[in-house]
Amino acid sequence: MLLIRNKELRKVIKITVPFVIIPLVTILGALVFNEKKHIIISLAVALLSLLLFAAGFEKKSTGTRRMVMVAVMTALCFAGRFIPFFKPVAALTIITALYLGGEAGFLVGALSAVLSNFYFGQGPWTAFQMLAWGLIGFCAGILSKKLLKSNVILLLYGALTGVVYSFIMDIWTVLWYNQSFNMNLYIAALVSAVPYTVSYVVSNVLFLCLLAKPFGEKLERIKTKYGI
């Protein structure tokens, strides 16, 4: 309505953000702030990449059916975050990406982060959570052929993304606390987050084990029935 209504403007954003602004922000940030304030740079890059994705998505003509499917999966993720200890968000994001493609996976991951944080607490970490979950979905979409072939690889991917998610979020914790990166603090954060990392890994593997097949069948059925 305000920002990305104009077609020309959208085009400009799409070209300038990835090739001009993001590298410029990184380099300028490193020079001007004397490598002291990595937090500004990281937050700016995260927000810009989300903006870029929104612009790309806005431009494409996604089918209405596909869009509603994404909304359904987002709602399921949102509801799933209320399960204590085990969170199926990443698993559902991966499953969506496998059957509906990487873009849908990114959307489900990113949007369920924003939505559910209305109940779990919004904060500056929301941008990072959106990006982390979104990328987990996006990569699953890229690797979908291999992941669909073998169940073992899929479960391995689930476990790996659990660890990676924790590592990404801890980088953010350290940057926020210390403003610049500090290896000691990062290790301390990683160690204190071990229970969470384990719970991410366990819940990803568990939910992929339980849900991948039945969800796959349902999504596959909908796809063949309605030709999405």
């Binding site: 309505m1 305000l2 920002l3 990305i4 209504r5 304030k37 937090i39 500004i40 937050l43 903006l51 929104a54 612009a55 998505f57 806005e58 003509s61 996604t62 089918g63 209405t64 059916r65 869009m67 509603v68 499917m69 994404v70 909304a71 359904v72 987002t74 709602a75 399921l76 949102f78 509801a79 959307l107 949007l111 369920s112 924003v114 939505l115 944080n117 209305f118 607490g121 919004q122 904060g123 500056p124 926020w176 606390y177 210390n178 403003q179 500090n182 000691n184 603090l185 301390a188 339980l210 039945p214 969800f215 349902k218 999504l219 909908i222 309605y226």
Partner: protein
């Protein structure tokens, strides 16, 4: 006469990100302290003295964050004592205190932000950025209560057919997962029907219009202009380095010049805006009531 939370959501968002942005990107202790005090004050002005648990959580976190830095980082000249052959320094402790003040302050601000920005307002703000994403968000929000209602229906039907009992744990889990499976199939089919119905009514043929409760009034424009002006002054004085403070190797304070003082004052003013609005509204309300 409007309270701060009734202003246009875009204005409220801009104000919140100005306040928390300065708090996050500056490391000047006085600004951190102002932000923390303002955050606590704003939260208590809005909520009274309830939410005791959250206050306790925030202050325990404050303590942990303060103590975390001197245990990990050993920079600094003034050694307080030595623990496990590692020096614990005054500078590192103060640095931890400063970071803790910043983080807890921002947490308080975002707690109030989450209270003020209801999902309806979020849809308005994201709608301004990207109508399509906002549509997906609003549909997802609508699906959550719909699914929970439907799952109750499915549950009742399954029980009535005698398919599971909930006094046996294994039977219960099996039954619940069947309900969930049915719900997912139904949700996907229902989504397709929704999509077809949307297309039949002309979705996607031209730009989407939407019902909107929020308008820009004079006071909204005034508020957004004032907050951006104050933000620019503070950000300029932080960015140009007149509000610098270094902890390592030893604490060095530079007395802030005129620009620094202007930055501090404008940050205080920025934080006080909603508190002034809330007090003014409640005072005027009392005055009007006393006149009856």
């Amino acid at each position: 006469m409007r309270s701060f939370s009734e202003y246009n959501p875009i204005v409220v968002t801009v104000w919140f990100f100005s306040v928390t942005g300065i708090a996050m990107f500056s490391s000047y202790p006085l600004l951190m302290l102002i932000s923390l005090l303002g955050g606590v004050l704003f939260f208590t002005v809005r909520n009274g003295i309830s939410h005791g648990k959250e206050h306790i959580f925030f202050w325990v976190l404050f303590l942990i964050l303060t103590l975390a830095n001197p245990l990990v980082s050993h920079n600094g000249k003034t050694v307080l004592f030595v623990m496990n052959h590692n020096p614990v320094t005054l500078e590192a402790t103060l640095y931890g205190l400063n970071s803790a003040t910043m983080i807890v302050g921002v947490l308080y601000w975002f707690r109030s932000f989450t209270q003020i920005m209801t999902s309806e307002k979020l849809l308005y703000v994201t709608g301004a950025l990207s109508p399509k994403l906002s549509l997906i968000l609003s549909m997802a929000l609508r699906f959550v209560p719909l699914f929970s209602r439907q799952s109750v229906k499915i549950n009742n039907a399954q029980k009535a057919m005698g398919l599971y009992k909930d006094d046996n744990i294994i039977d219960d889990i099996k039954g619940k997962s069947r309900v969930f499976s049915i719900l997912v199939t139904w949700a996907l089919e229902n989504g397709i029907i929704t999509a077809d119905s949307m297309e039949a009514r002309g979705f996607g043929t031209h730009r989407r219009t939407h019902f909107c409760r929020f308008r820009f009034r004079g006071s909204d424009i005034a508020l957004i202009v004032v907050s951006i002006a104050l933000l620019v002054v503070t950000a300029f004085s932080v960015g140009i380095g007149s509000l610098d403070f270094s902890f390592y190797p030893s604490i060095s304070v530079k007395t802030p010049g005129k620009l620094g003082i202007a930055g501090i004052i404008s940050y205080i003013a920025l934080i006080m805006i909603p508190i002034i609005i809330e007090t003014e509204v409640s005072l005027r309300w009392k005055y009007l009531r006393s006149g009856i």
